[in-house]
């Protein structure tokens, strides 16, 4: 199909098809059926799969050996690993296990000339050759169609417990609690501050909350939860709450990610979370320095709320000391936010070299 030279829309299982800019393509190339394990050596903690393999399948296969791929992008676990890598999507676990780029050891992709390229390898450390793996990760299919990936796995922590802490009170009181949680004594594997709207959607109550996930051996986890009890009143939750948080994304029409210096984000977190905007879900990862704002299609819309006002306000406030990444927007809004994220000469040169006829997902990055 690539050699035909016709513009192609590259898809996995279509779980994130509403993300990215509108694509102008006449045909679709789906990787959904190019799925399955190529090799899995549990003792090496590495897994090679075809791109159409779903995250849920990877979790099942590795779970049988008490291992996991600690990669939990927002949205449904029915999404494919190929799409996850192509969009560099990551979730709450990324603040401790790293982003997609940090978990990827190698890949196979097909460039815009139909050539099959293998980059990286299957071992956990590798500097042979220029790093095409990192280059293609997050390129949204515009440099190549990812067909296979090799991933680094971890052992599932023997103890894996999640607690919730209600953040009620004034912004000032809330800020004090938040500051207390940033301490070397606590090393959660995931840490999210979520808005009241998310609390309600997850049936966690009527106030903003902090969700903390501790993983490791029993003693390490016990010690951290005890330490947390010194400064707050944690309540234990099922670990499934993280899946529910991710799946809230399923019905969003707008998703905006704002990243900033962690301390700056933490400083404004209390104020942002105090706002009660029922239609807008906001969650903050204070260690990764990322705030995610989504607008759900089925949440009640309050007075004067528009899709992305809150996000725009924050990004305007910070005077260029933050980065705004638009993941999803209503189609007609795209043109207004940013023409292209690959307009610089280096990116243009790379695009031209790898996809000379501009047939791979044309338009999705603004091109």
């Amino acid at each position: 199909m690539i050699r035909d030279g016709q513009p192609l829309r590259i898809t996995g299982r279509g779980a994130w098809l509403d993300a990215g800019r509108p694509v102008s393509a006449t045909r679709t190339l789906s990787l959904a059926h190019d799925a399955g394990v190529v090799s899995y050596v549990p003792g090496d903690l590495t897994l090679t799969v075809r791109a159409g393999t779903t995250l849920a399948d990877i979790a099942k296969i590795t779970g049988e050996k008490n291992q996991w791929l600690p990669l939990d992008p927002y949205g449904s676990a029915d999404g494919t690993i190929g799409a996850t890598v192509a969009t560099a999507s990551a979730g709450p676990l990324s603040s401790s296990f790293g982003l997609v780029r940090d978990l990827l050891l190698g890949m196979e992709f097909v460039n815009g000339r139909g050539e099959v390229i293998r980059a990286g390898g299957k071992v956990v450390k590798n500097v042979a050759g220029f790093d095409l793996t990192r280059l293609v990760t997050g390129s949204w299919g515009t440099l190549g169609v990812i067909t296979e990936v090799t991933l680094r796995l971890y052992a599932q922590p023997p103890a894996d417990r999640t607690v919730v802490i209600e953040l009620d009170g004034t912004p000032r009181e809330m800020a004090a609690v938040l500051r207390g949680m940033i301490t070397p004594v606590l090393s959660p594997i995931a840490f999210q501050l979520v808005s009241r709207s998310i609390s309600r959607a997850l049936r966690l109550g009527e106030s903003p909350v902090a969700l903390l996930r501790f993983g490791g051996n029993e003693s390490a986890v016990d010690a951290q939860i005890s330490a947390l009890r010194q400064i707050a009143t944690p309540r234990e939750l099922e670990t499934t709450v993280w899946g529910s948080l991710r799946e809230l994304d399923g019905k969003t029409t707008t998703a905006i990610r704002i990243s900033s210096l962690p301390q700056r984000l933490l400083a404004t977190a209390a104020t942002i979370l105090s706002d009660d905007l029922p239609a807008i879900y906001t969650n903050i990862d204070p260690r990764r320095g990322v705030m995610r704002i989504t607008v759900s299609s089925d949440a009640p819309v309050g007075d004067g709320e528009s899709d992305s006002n809150a996000a725009m306000d924050f990004s305007a406030d910070t005077n260029g000391s933050s980065n705004v990444v638009f993941e999803k927007l209503p189609p007609d809004v795209w043109a207004a936010v940013s023409a292209s994220v690959v307009a610089d000469p280096l990116s243009q040169g790379i695009k031209k070299a790898y996809d000379p006829h501009n047939i791979l997902n044309p338009g999705i990055l603004g091109d």
Binding site: V41, G98, N111, L132, N323
Partner: protein
């Protein structure tokens, strides 16, 4: 004329042009490769560095960026080339303690950055064994690793952003120091590009909080095989040690005979140096698990360092092991292959067989937790028969690692040294894709020409005028020149 102009930019004393002065710059830390540069220039400020690169661009002159010259791939060198040394650019530009990041110039020495941030309870995680001398700029060029990269990741995982001057003289920012951005990961592409994509003017790195607790244990074994199996068992247990290092009997005895003696048991055939760090409660529990795995795997003894002084001593022996090899013979050859960790027992047995076949002494001291081997042979290059046996043995070891599904280099880089193996692990189209990427950053291949990817693999490029000018230098293994001094690493 070039000399005069460069002297105008950086000052006369910072341009070297006499052959005798340039001798130091004709090799990196792997002295098997020697290339005679025609000039060396050492800018003292960012502005001077920019002016130098722009002048070289105007004149269409090739150059090679160089940090401390501690590389182990035959990378930062070239015949008839201009060395742009960056060790004078050694300012820490900014330190943001709260957000745990620092922006530094490329010539800042790795250990110096660590000492600078240590009082704030922070560290810069990648710790190549040459940390006392190597620069952050060089670390970025090689995507350097080190013992503690097992848990913390390599340079790539710790660099947030860079300001880079391309060979054309254009200054660009890659990545973003403030936060994540979208678009292509040009920062990721630049890291590990071995000086072929230009040079970094500043680097923003992530700093890591010092762990609450660190415990280092030494397990000793009467067979290499036992230690290899224990390594695989620790990895498979799911515990991620901060470091898991392996030294075999010959290495132990060389180190113990040297000034770096660490108190390793001389009669052991292998030791594992395992470090665990993190929260106190977790480390104590993991330490017991690791101790049990070691003892069940046949360790004679498991000794835990009592204090920092004892810990440092244990590490000193490991980090200076290559230096200690200088006692054995005047020359040293080192490899850097990475293998799947379950293959460790098998490959170590193969290496042993190869060493017997060629009657050479292979010392193994390496990052076992990552499967990153550093088999090395001390020998005398003045003995042609011995040299030949050494090179044949090394080639066979590399082929065994490739056959096991491994990579030819885990942290040292390709340079000239491993270029001959690139075609064993990558197809022509993959190598060409690498050339195309280089072509975007450096269309004329003026920045560290002839490295990493064999020139003949670059389909589009070697037919161009610039391509034809390039010496079609392609070094098939084994090493063509001979080391003349032991490698200190």
């Amino acid at each position: 004329m070039v000399v005069e102009r460069l002297a105008e930019i950086v000052g006369e004393s910072h341009v070297l042009s006499r052959k005798s002065e340039l001798l130091v710059y004709n090799s990196d830390g792997l002295p098997g490769y020697r290339r005679q540069p025609k000039l060396a220039v050492f800018p003292g400020t960012r502005e001077e560095a920019i002016a130098v690169v722009r002048y070289l661009a105007e004149q269409n002159l090739s150059f090679v960026p160089r940090g401390a010259g501690t590389g182990l791939s035959g990378g930062a060198l070239g015949d008839d080339i201009i060395v742009v040394g960056l060790h004078r650019l050694k300012k820490v530009i900014s330190l943001d303690i709260e957000n745990r990041r620092a922006t530094v110039e490329p010539g800042v020495v790795n250990l110096r950055l660590n000492r600078y941030v240590a009082p704030h309870g922070l560290l810069y995680a990648p710790d190549p064994s040459s940390e006392a001398a190597c620069t952050i700029g060089g670390n970025v060029a090689e995507n350097a690793g080190g013992p503690h990269c097992l848990k913390y990741g390599v340079t790539l995982n710790h660099v947030l952003a860079l300001t880079v001057i391309l060979p054309s003289g254009e200054v660009v920012q890659l990545g973003n120091p403030v936060g994540e951005r979208d678009g292509y990961d040009l920062r990721g592409a630049f890291i590990g590009s071995e000086g072929c994509f230009g040079l970094a003017l500043d680097i923003t790195v992530r700093l890591t909080p010092k762990p609450q607790t660190v415990r280092t244990l030494l397990a000793d074994f009467t067979s290499v095989d036992q230690a290899a199996h224990v390594t695989s068992a620790v990895v498979a247990s799911g515990i991620v040690p901060a470091a898991l290092e392996f030294m075999d009997g010959p290495t132990i005895r060389v180190v113990e005979d040297s000034i770096y003696a660490a108190g390793y048991p001389r009669d052991a055939e292998a030791i594992l140096l395992i470090e665990l760090d993190g929260l106190e409660a977790g480390v104590v529990a993991d330490l017991e698990t690791v101790r049990r795995i070691c003892l069940e795997g046949g360790a004679r003894q498991v000794k835990v360092a009592r204090d920092d002084a004892e810990r440092m001593k244990l590490w000193q022996g490991r980090k200076k092991a290559f230096g200690a090899m200088g006692r054995l013979a005047p020359h040293l050859i080192v490899q850097d292959a990475v293998i799947p960790r379950t293959k460790l027992p098998e490959i170590l047995a193969t290496i042993h067989g190869i060493s017997q076949k060629y009657n050479v002494m292979v010392c193994n001291v390496f990052h076992a937790g990552d499967g990153n081997l550093h088999p090395n042979i001390a020998y005398s290059a003045d003995d042609p028969a011995e040299s030949e046996r050494v090179h044949k043995a090394m080639r066979e070891i590399m082929q065994a690692c490739i056959a096991a599904g491994g990579s030819i280099t885990g942290e040292h880089g390709v340079g000239l040294d491993k270029m001959g193996y690139m075609e064993s692990i990558f197809t022509d189209t993959s190598l060409n894709a690498m050339c195309e990427l280089r072509g975007v950053f450096d269309p004329d291949h003026r920045s560290n020409p002839g490295k990493v990817v064999p020139v003949h693999s670059c389909k589009e490029w070697h037919g161009t005028p610039a391509g034809r000018r390039q010496p079609t230098e392609h070094q098939p293994p084994p090493l063509e020149a001979e080391p003349s001094r032991p490698v200190a690493r």
